[in-house]
């Protein structure tokens, strides 16, 4: 960001500034003006003085001349303050009447924020650092092997960098959706009067004002610094039937200097690129349901609609069903990103495989599931190696969110399973 103000030295703005400096220069303060301000000093007031409520000052004996004078001074001062409407001025100057409304206004003026995010799901806490721009670029640094995810919602592109493998997995996000935890979107969606005051609380050494916003089954809590008018901490708690999940954002840095390279949604040098969406998909027409003319095996009964419990399950089922349809009923050996990328590339290069749009969406969905589970410290477990759809062997994959474990069967039906039904972990996990 350029802050060079000299580049436009002859601009109308600079001429206006210069004219203002010249034409508004004054020398002396008129005597009658300064005399009124001096009257404040007639009491011998010194600054700073100990904080002492006015009522306390007049609580002593009032009989002496000194105390009557003090009372008069206080009354005059209060009258002056009221007379010039200073209460309203200070309210705006030092502490907005509604810290929440001010925070909404203030955040909407910011261009970038960096913060630490924590996801607490059934006691499992995962932590990552997020950089978010108001323009819609998100960087999630998940640490460890999970790597870095970059999302540009303006063009619908997501890049997952895995440093350990020097791999960059590129995919299209659904439309131009922003990540669910996009802070700026959150503040765009909130009305300034939505926040319900909850009192004050000290957070990270700052005396904050606390507000809650409840929408459906979720509750957002905001700890607002009344001086900066910016959040110090935020939580978003989702109350689900199987327990609550809380998303906490803290350690905010507002409008920090960010190296633009960190926000480049691109494949860095030295990384192998793997496209999870075939490049040709945009030009493809959606394939017909009966796609046998293209040489795709529909896998017969296996194609029946699953009772998907949620979008995670739907995404996994879509990908597995597509793989089985494209490969004579066979399921992938594993669901690692490298394997998924290989499948996508192979099918994308197959001229007989016409369903490339669906392929891109399915791979992208699976990719999202893996990232989402990774953020909560979970993963998608898979038992499909060497197996086929409808082989009658039961569970193919499962994952746990909160206290609920969802299983996907070989016929792509889904169900919630009890702890004693969870299969043994696949070899190597």
């Amino acid at each position: 960001m350029s802050l060079n103000h000299h580049a436009d030295a002859a601009s109308p703005l600079d001429r206006a500034i210069e004219a203002t400096r010249r034409l508004t220069a004054v020398s002396n303060v008129p005597h009658h003006v300064i005399a009124r301000a001096r009257s404040l000093a007639e009491s011998g007031h010194t600054v700073p003085r100990p904080v002492e409520p006015a009522q306390k000052s007049v609580a002593g004996p009032l009989g002496s001349g000194r105390n009557r004078r003090t009372l008069l001074q206080i009354a005059l001062t209060l009258a002056l303050l009221v007379g010039v409407g200073i209460a309203a001025t200070l309210s705006g100057l030092l502490q907005p009447t509604s810290a929440f409304a001010a925070a909404v206004e203030q955040v909407r003026k910011m261009s970038v924020v960096r913060f630490v995010a924590e996801v607490n799901s059934a006691g499992t806490v995962s932590r990552f650092t997020q950089i978010q721009t108001a323009a819609g670029v998100t960087r999630l640094e998940m640490g460890g092997d999970a790597g870095v995810v970059l999302v540009d919602s303006r063009v619908g592109t997501m890049v997952h960098l895995v440093p350990a493998e020097r791999m960059a997995f590129v995919s299209k996000t659904a439309g131009a959706d922003r990540p669910d935890q996009d802070l700026f979107e959150c503040f765009e969606a909130i009305a300034p009067n939505d926040g319900q005051p909850q009192g004050r609380e000290r957070v990270d050494g700052i005396e904050t004002e606390v507000f809650k916003v409840t929408q459906g089954d979720s509750t957002q809590t905001f700890w607002i610094n009344p001086v900066t008018r910016l959040p110090v901490r935020m939580t978003h708690r989702f109350n689900m039937p199987d327990g609550a999940m809380t998303f906490t954002m803290k350690d905010f840095e507002w409008d920090p200097e960010i190296d633009p390279a960190l926000l480049a949604v691109a494949v860095p040098e030295g990384y192998a690129r793997s496209d999870l969406n075939p490049a040709a998909q945009a030009a493809e027409k959606p394939a017909a349901a009966d796609d046998t003319a293209a040489g795709v095996n529909p896998a017969g009964e296996a194609a029946k609609e699953p009772a998907a419990a949620d979008k995670f399950t739907t995404a996994v089922v879509d990908f597995l069903r597509l793989c089985s349809e494209a490969d004579a009923g066979r399921l992938p050996d594993d669901l690692s990103q490298a394997t998924v990328a290989a499948i996508v590339n192979r099918l994308a290069a197959n001229p007989k495989f016409a369903d490339k749009t669906r392929l891109g969406a399915a791979a992208g969905g699976l990719f999202g599931v893996q990232i989402g589970l990774g953020m909560t410290g979970e993963k998608l477990h898979y038992l499909g190696k060497g197996r086929r759809a409808n082989d009658g062997k039961g569970i193919v994959a499962w994952y746990t969110v909160g206290k609920t474990t969802t299983a996907i069967n070989d016929d792509f039906s889904t169900r919630t399973i009890a702890p004693n039904e969870v299969p043994a972990l696949p070899k190597g996990e």
Binding site: L3, A19, R22, A25, V26, R38, I86, D255
Partner: protein, 171 residues
């Protein structure tokens, strides 16, 4: 520990200059001056003041901006009740004077349309020559954030002032 009288006498010139940059009308400016010191008087009871010039400059700027906004809303004195009497003798040509007055008014009006923090940061940095760190301390933000606000303020002011000047020249 300073006496209040010392504070007033030491900084009266600074406060008066800050206000007069915004407000031509002397009675308005005088009221603003009183409000500034009254606000400072009250605020100093609530919090220790580390740097009086910056503290007072900010309050004066705030007071003057509020008054200017109010006047702009009333569409009154600011544009029609100029009082450049104190500087008139230094002005070279009537046409040039009129043009410069026009520039001053446009800048003042444009500043009132900025978000409050941008307007404050811009005015304090440009006319009070306060360093970013000092402005940041006064506004409760980082010096880096002050830089961002200034960048945004200048960008907005450029776009607000340039078209109006072109329109004036064309007419």
């Amino acid at each position: 520990m300073d006496s209040w009288q010392t504070i007033v006498e030491t900084h009266a010139g600074l406060v008066w200059q800050s206000i007069r940059r915004f407000i031509d009308h002397e009675e308005d400016a005088a009221d603003c001056f009183q409000e500034t010191f009254a606000a400072a008087f009250a605020a100093s009871n609530r919090q220790p003041v580390r740097h009086w010039p910056a503290f007072l400059a900010r309050i004066a700027t705030n007071q003057a901006l509020d008054r200017l906004r109010s006047r702009a809303r009333e569409r009154a004195r600011v544009t029609h009740d100029h009082d450049f009497g104190q500087t008139a003798s230094r002005l070279p040509e009537p046409v040039a004077v009129a043009e410069e007055r026009e520039l001053v008014d446009r800048l003042r009006h444009a500043v009132t349309t900025l978000p409050k923090d941008q307007a404050e940061a811009f005015w304090l940095a440009t006319f009070e020559s306060l360093p970013h760190a000092e402005i940041g301390a006064s506004l409760g933000i980082t010096a880096n954030h002050v830089g961002v606000l200034l960048h945004r303020a200048r960008r907005a002011l450029q776009s607000l002032i340039a078209p109006s000047i072109r329109a004036t020249q064309e007419s």
